[in-house]
Symmetry: C2
Subunit: 271 residues, 2 copies
């Protein structure tokens, strides 16, 4: 544990190579400093980036939405170079980002304490998002994982302010959308559900995709009050895998440790 908390931090720049972890890399007028770019966050276990191909696929979809090219081989090589020296056991966080001006960055850092704690469970609050529908329009970048994360970060700060570890956005119709950095999965009556994504402010996650490849996950609208009556709920994301929702706006949810273990196995690629 101690080794991981103080573990390696590395920064690699596309077309340049490794630089010191905290070296300045972006010029003041780079599009990346206007949120005008996209990124992926991957979990590395040992020296293996979990679901590398799925992340590359989404990174490529983001690039297409931004109208820029992407060299899959170059990013794969950067991922390999960045993680080659990691300990054979243990975990790390790998992040790719590419700005519209072409600034490509790869970082490796230890898994934050909050992520580890989140795997054991999170308290969640619901937060209004306002957005009702997202038209199928390329300029809205709905399929891209953009670097414009100001609202996502502000929502997580609001959750912390309320004593919770995560949030679920609720749209103007009162229906649950997603967490700021995770998708929602819940179970009721022996079935598995996730909120519909088409035409809504929900980014398809690679972890949800992996779970849906193993379980029959149906799309269903859900309101917070209904979710609080589910047989269990989880936030699915690359770093935490499947984080069980322990409380929703203060109401305790059932938590089945065996289900969480099974979901985590699928999510982290160890199932």
């Amino acid at each position: 544990m101690g080794a991981q908390l103080s573990g390696p931090r590395r920064t690699l720049v596309l077309g340049v190579g490794e630089v010191p972890w905290d070296a300045p890399v972006a010029a003041a007028d780079d599009a990346g400093l206007r949120g005008d770019g996209f990124f992926e966050t991957l979990l590395v276990r040992g020296r293996h980036a979990v679901r590398l191909a799925a992340h590359l696929d989404r990174f490529e979809r983001s690039a297409a939405a931004f109208g820029v090219g992407l060299d899959r081989d170059a990013w794969t090589a950067l991922a390999v170079a960045a993680t080659a020296d990691l300990p054979a056991a243990g975990e790390a966080v790998l992040r790719w980002s590419l700005s519209r001006d072409g600034l490509g960055l790869v970082t490796v850092r230890p898994v934050p304490d909050g992520v580890r704690a989140g795997r054991r469970g999170v308290d969640v609050v619901t937060l209004a998002r306002g957005t009702a529908t997202v038209p199928d329009a390329p300029w809205l970048l709905a399929a891209a994982k953009t670097s414009s994360y100001a609202v996502n970060s502000a929502a997580l700060r609001e959750a912390a302010r309320r004593g919770a570890q995560d949030a679920l956005f609720v749209d103007a119709d009162g229906l649950v959308l997603e967490a700021p950095t995770a998708n929602l999965l819940w179970t009721a009556g022996g079935r598995w559900f996730t909120p519909p994504r088409s035409g809504r402010a929900v980014l398809p996650g690679t972890t949800l995709e992996a779970v849906a490849g193993e379980l029959n996950v149906e799309e269903a609208h859900v309101r917070p009050a209904e979710l609080a009556g589910a047989d269990g709920a989880w936030l699915l994301s690359s770093l935490r895998g499947a984080a069980p929702v322990l409380r929703l706006d203060g109401t305790a949810l059932p938590h089945d440790a065996d289900r969480t273990a099974a979901l985590r196995g699928i999510a982290l690629g160890t199932g």
Copy 2:
């Protein structure tokens, strides 16, 4: 003109001072590279930053929305230092940005050709924004000028792809909101109008504020078809001042050069 096009480019870092224009200033893990910060863009005429106090006020409101402090005196001093050596005549663009991690940047650069051309008039296309309403919730940062500009930039690229120079976002109810970097003003029957801002995805602009201080500007909902029948429409922003809308989705709008000159005088502080 030539001197302005090839004019000075400067970068100053809060707490550090001047660095070369294109020097890297942001580390890979700075919040600024996740769109997690806020900014202001000011027009400098001679060595005078137009509406400095109004921009400082909004910068301060943005800081409050992000839960960070702001030293007005430090930013004023940076603005003075950045513009002190500019030619006594002519214009430049001054930009302030502050990331949640505290990376404060001031840049000065020449006014882009597109901005100068835009003052003579812009062709505009309407683009769906999807958002209908924005709840009064601090985590949505509605009053902040955030650095999360990916969608704004993508909308301007879509406008260019359609042969236009700017865009107007239209909400899920078919009502006009704002341009990606400007507010809308129009006139009809001798009255002045702008779309309502409260509870909607419309950022209050300092230029609109200045115009509303001189003219009686009423709030009114407007659909693109109604706007096309107006007696004139303008996009108000710090750099262009008042850019007359020459065409909306291909339909020519009336353009009264005297009105544009009067609005520009108010907008640029020369009226």
